[in-house]
Symmetry: C2
Subunit: 92 residues, 2 copies
DNA sequence: GAACTATTTCAAAATTTATTGAAATAGCTT
DNA sequence: AAGCTATTTCAATAAATTTTGAAATAGTTC
Protein backbone atom coordinates (compact mmCIF):
# COMPACT_ATOMS: atom_id res chain seq x y z
CA UNK A 1 0.00 0.00 0.00
CA UNK A 2 1.48 3.35 -1.06
CA UNK A 3 1.71 6.50 1.01
CA UNK A 4 -0.68 8.17 -1.39
CA UNK A 5 -3.33 5.53 -0.84
CA UNK A 6 -2.80 5.59 2.91
CA UNK A 7 -3.19 9.34 3.09
CA UNK A 8 -6.31 9.25 0.94
CA UNK A 9 -7.80 6.72 3.29
CA UNK A 10 -7.01 8.85 6.34
CA UNK A 11 -8.29 12.01 4.68
CA UNK A 12 -11.91 11.07 5.32
CA UNK A 13 -13.46 12.08 8.66
CA UNK A 14 -15.72 9.03 8.87
CA UNK A 15 -12.76 6.70 8.45
CA UNK A 16 -10.79 8.58 11.08
CA UNK A 17 -13.73 8.25 13.46
CA UNK A 18 -13.82 4.52 12.78
CA UNK A 19 -10.12 4.27 13.62
CA UNK A 20 -10.60 6.26 16.82
CA UNK A 21 -13.35 3.86 17.88
CA UNK A 22 -11.27 0.81 17.03
CA UNK A 23 -8.32 2.29 18.85
CA UNK A 24 -10.33 1.91 22.05
CA UNK A 25 -11.71 -1.58 21.44
CA UNK A 26 -12.56 -4.04 18.73
CA UNK A 27 -16.09 -3.80 17.36
CA UNK A 28 -18.53 -5.38 14.95
CA UNK A 29 -19.54 -3.53 11.80
CA UNK A 30 -23.06 -3.04 13.13
CA UNK A 31 -21.81 -1.52 16.37
CA UNK A 32 -19.65 0.97 14.49
CA UNK A 33 -22.51 1.98 12.22
CA UNK A 34 -24.80 2.62 15.20
CA UNK A 35 -22.17 4.54 17.10
CA UNK A 36 -21.29 6.79 14.16
CA UNK A 37 -24.86 7.00 12.93
CA UNK A 38 -24.19 5.99 9.35
CA UNK A 39 -25.88 3.35 7.19
CA UNK A 40 -24.49 -0.20 7.15
CA UNK A 41 -23.78 0.19 3.46
CA UNK A 42 -21.79 3.38 3.94
CA UNK A 43 -19.92 1.82 6.81
CA UNK A 44 -19.12 -1.23 4.73
CA UNK A 45 -17.71 1.01 2.03
CA UNK A 46 -15.38 2.72 4.47
CA UNK A 47 -14.36 -0.53 6.11
CA UNK A 48 -13.45 -1.90 2.72
CA UNK A 49 -11.08 1.00 2.14
CA UNK A 50 -9.61 0.68 5.62
CA UNK A 51 -9.07 -3.03 5.04
CA UNK A 52 -7.48 -2.40 1.65
CA UNK A 53 -5.10 0.02 3.33
CA UNK A 54 -4.30 -2.49 6.07
CA UNK A 55 -5.53 -0.08 8.70
CA UNK A 56 -7.87 -2.67 10.14
CA UNK A 57 -7.97 -6.44 10.49
CA UNK A 58 -11.08 -8.57 10.67
CA UNK A 59 -12.12 -11.98 11.91
CA UNK A 60 -15.40 -13.84 12.02
CA UNK A 61 -17.13 -15.07 15.15
CA UNK A 62 -20.62 -16.53 14.94
CA UNK A 63 -22.23 -14.38 12.32
CA UNK A 64 -20.52 -11.20 13.37
CA UNK A 65 -17.36 -9.84 11.83
CA UNK A 66 -15.09 -8.20 14.35
CA UNK A 67 -12.83 -5.38 13.31
CA UNK A 68 -9.70 -4.24 15.06
CA UNK A 69 -7.08 -1.64 14.35
CA UNK A 70 -3.73 -2.59 12.85
CA UNK A 71 -1.26 -0.32 14.57
CA UNK A 72 1.75 -1.28 12.47
CA UNK A 73 0.66 0.50 9.27
CA UNK A 74 1.12 3.86 10.87
CA UNK A 75 4.88 3.44 11.00
CA UNK A 76 5.34 3.85 7.26
CA UNK A 77 3.26 6.99 7.39
CA UNK A 78 5.37 8.40 10.19
CA UNK A 79 8.50 7.94 8.13
CA UNK A 80 6.98 9.74 5.16
CA UNK A 81 5.96 12.71 7.24
CA UNK A 82 9.28 12.89 9.02
CA UNK A 83 11.09 13.57 5.75
CA UNK A 84 9.51 17.03 5.70
CA UNK A 85 10.49 18.05 9.19
CA UNK A 86 13.25 20.57 9.74
CA UNK A 87 16.94 19.76 10.06
CA UNK A 88 16.60 19.82 13.84
CA UNK A 89 14.97 16.41 13.60
CA UNK A 90 17.39 14.73 11.22
CA UNK A 91 18.82 11.38 12.22
CA UNK A 92 22.38 12.70 11.93
CA UNK B 1 -5.70 24.11 10.96
CA UNK B 2 -7.19 20.78 11.96
CA UNK B 3 -5.73 17.33 11.40
CA UNK B 4 -8.62 16.57 9.05
CA UNK B 5 -7.82 19.52 6.85
CA UNK B 6 -4.10 18.74 6.90
CA UNK B 7 -4.67 15.15 5.86
CA UNK B 8 -7.04 16.18 3.10
CA UNK B 9 -4.40 18.53 1.76
CA UNK B 10 -1.74 15.81 1.80
CA UNK B 11 -4.10 13.28 0.20
CA UNK B 12 -3.60 14.76 -3.26
CA UNK B 13 -0.65 13.55 -5.36
CA UNK B 14 -0.10 16.89 -7.05
CA UNK B 15 0.19 18.63 -3.70
CA UNK B 16 2.60 16.00 -2.43
CA UNK B 17 4.73 16.50 -5.54
CA UNK B 18 4.75 20.23 -4.89
CA UNK B 19 5.95 19.61 -1.34
CA UNK B 20 8.65 17.25 -2.54
CA UNK B 21 9.91 19.93 -4.95
CA UNK B 22 9.83 22.61 -2.27
CA UNK B 23 11.60 20.31 0.13
CA UNK B 24 14.63 20.50 -2.18
CA UNK B 25 14.56 24.25 -2.83
CA UNK B 26 12.29 27.26 -2.89
CA UNK B 27 10.60 27.93 -6.22
CA UNK B 28 8.34 30.33 -8.02
CA UNK B 29 4.83 29.27 -8.95
CA UNK B 30 5.74 29.25 -12.63
CA UNK B 31 8.70 27.00 -12.09
CA UNK B 32 6.58 24.50 -10.19
CA UNK B 33 3.91 24.48 -12.88
CA UNK B 34 6.50 23.81 -15.59
CA UNK B 35 8.23 21.09 -13.58
CA UNK B 36 5.01 19.26 -12.76
CA UNK B 37 3.44 19.96 -16.15
CA UNK B 38 0.19 21.41 -14.88
CA UNK B 39 -1.57 24.64 -15.80
CA UNK B 40 -0.83 27.81 -13.82
CA UNK B 41 -4.46 27.92 -12.72
CA UNK B 42 -4.40 24.38 -11.40
CA UNK B 43 -1.13 25.03 -9.64
CA UNK B 44 -2.51 28.17 -8.08
CA UNK B 45 -5.45 26.18 -6.76
CA UNK B 46 -3.18 23.66 -5.07
CA UNK B 47 -0.87 26.33 -3.71
CA UNK B 48 -3.84 28.07 -2.17
CA UNK B 49 -4.75 24.90 -0.28
CA UNK B 50 -1.14 24.33 0.78
CA UNK B 51 -0.95 27.91 2.02
CA UNK B 52 -4.25 27.57 3.89
CA UNK B 53 -2.86 24.50 5.57
CA UNK B 54 0.38 26.30 6.45
CA UNK B 55 2.36 23.75 4.51
CA UNK B 56 4.07 26.47 2.49
CA UNK B 57 5.12 30.07 3.04
CA UNK B 58 5.44 32.70 0.34
CA UNK B 59 7.21 35.98 -0.21
CA UNK B 60 7.40 38.41 -3.11
CA UNK B 61 10.55 39.38 -4.94
CA UNK B 62 10.31 41.52 -8.05
CA UNK B 63 7.21 40.21 -9.70
CA UNK B 64 7.76 36.62 -8.71
CA UNK B 65 6.25 34.95 -5.71
CA UNK B 66 8.59 32.49 -4.09
CA UNK B 67 7.24 29.50 -2.26
CA UNK B 68 9.01 27.51 0.40
CA UNK B 69 8.05 24.60 2.58
CA UNK B 70 7.07 25.14 6.21
CA UNK B 71 8.54 22.17 8.01
CA UNK B 72 6.94 22.86 11.37
CA UNK B 73 3.38 21.89 10.39
CA UNK B 74 4.35 18.30 10.06
CA UNK B 75 4.89 17.97 13.79
CA UNK B 76 1.19 18.13 14.63
CA UNK B 77 0.55 15.45 12.05
CA UNK B 78 3.21 13.20 13.52
CA UNK B 79 1.57 13.42 16.92
CA UNK B 80 -1.82 12.48 15.48
CA UNK B 81 -0.43 9.43 13.74
CA UNK B 82 1.58 8.33 16.72
CA UNK B 83 -1.59 7.88 18.78
CA UNK B 84 -2.42 4.85 16.65
CA UNK B 85 0.88 3.08 17.01
CA UNK B 86 1.20 0.03 19.20
CA UNK B 87 1.94 0.08 22.91
CA UNK B 88 5.61 -0.55 22.16
CA UNK B 89 5.88 3.09 21.14
CA UNK B 90 4.03 4.64 24.08
CA UNK B 91 5.68 7.51 25.91
CA UNK B 92 5.43 5.63 29.23
C1' DG C 1 -33.77 -26.29 5.08
C1' DA C 2 -36.54 -22.19 6.56
C1' DA C 3 -36.26 -18.14 9.12
C1' DC C 4 -33.16 -14.96 11.10
C1' DT C 5 -29.26 -11.63 11.81
C1' DA C 6 -25.14 -9.33 10.14
C1' DT C 7 -22.78 -7.64 6.51
C1' DT C 8 -21.65 -6.73 1.70
C1' DT C 9 -22.50 -5.56 -3.08
C1' DC C 10 -24.60 -3.02 -6.69
C1' DA C 11 -26.13 0.75 -9.62
C1' DA C 12 -27.84 5.26 -9.19
C1' DA C 13 -27.82 9.78 -7.12
C1' DA C 14 -25.59 13.23 -4.40
C1' DT C 15 -21.61 15.53 -3.04
C1' DT C 16 -16.99 17.06 -3.19
C1' DT C 17 -12.75 18.05 -5.44
C1' DA C 18 -9.81 19.22 -9.41
C1' DT C 19 -9.06 21.17 -14.05
C1' DT C 20 -9.82 24.37 -17.75
C1' DG C 21 -9.66 28.68 -20.41
C1' DA C 22 -10.62 33.33 -20.05
C1' DA C 23 -10.43 37.42 -17.61
C1' DA C 24 -8.59 40.02 -13.72
C1' DT C 25 -4.89 41.55 -10.64
C1' DA C 26 -0.32 42.90 -9.29
C1' DG C 27 4.15 44.48 -9.68
C1' DC C 28 8.01 45.53 -12.77
C1' DT C 29 10.30 48.18 -16.64
C1' DT C 30 10.70 51.56 -19.87
C1' DA D 1 1.12 55.37 -18.06
C1' DA D 2 1.77 51.58 -21.53
C1' DG D 3 3.46 47.20 -22.12
C1' DC D 4 5.35 43.18 -20.00
C1' DT D 5 5.57 38.99 -16.99
C1' DA D 6 3.83 36.26 -13.17
C1' DT D 7 0.13 34.77 -10.72
C1' DT D 8 -4.67 34.49 -9.18
C1' DT D 9 -9.62 34.35 -9.64
C1' DC D 10 -13.82 33.00 -11.75
C1' DA D 11 -17.54 30.24 -13.62
C1' DA D 12 -18.08 26.13 -16.03
C1' DT D 13 -16.88 21.43 -16.73
C1' DA D 14 -14.88 17.13 -15.61
C1' DA D 15 -13.59 13.69 -12.54
C1' DA D 16 -13.48 11.38 -8.23
C1' DT D 17 -15.60 10.16 -3.89
C1' DT D 18 -19.43 9.16 -0.81
C1' DT D 19 -24.17 7.93 0.26
C1' DT D 20 -28.43 5.60 -0.57
C1' DG D 21 -31.87 1.87 -0.83
C1' DA D 22 -32.53 -2.51 -2.63
C1' DA D 23 -30.93 -6.91 -3.43
C1' DA D 24 -27.48 -10.49 -2.59
C1' DT D 25 -24.43 -13.23 0.39
C1' DA D 26 -22.98 -15.69 4.46
C1' DG D 27 -23.27 -17.86 8.60
C1' DT D 28 -26.52 -19.17 12.65
C1' DT D 29 -30.26 -21.20 14.98
C1' DC D 30 -34.29 -23.64 15.18
Amino acid sequence: MSIGESLKILADPVRRDILLLLKKEKRTAGSIAVELDISPAALSYHLRLLKQGDFVLEYREKNFIWYEINATVFDELLLWIQQFRGDAHEKE
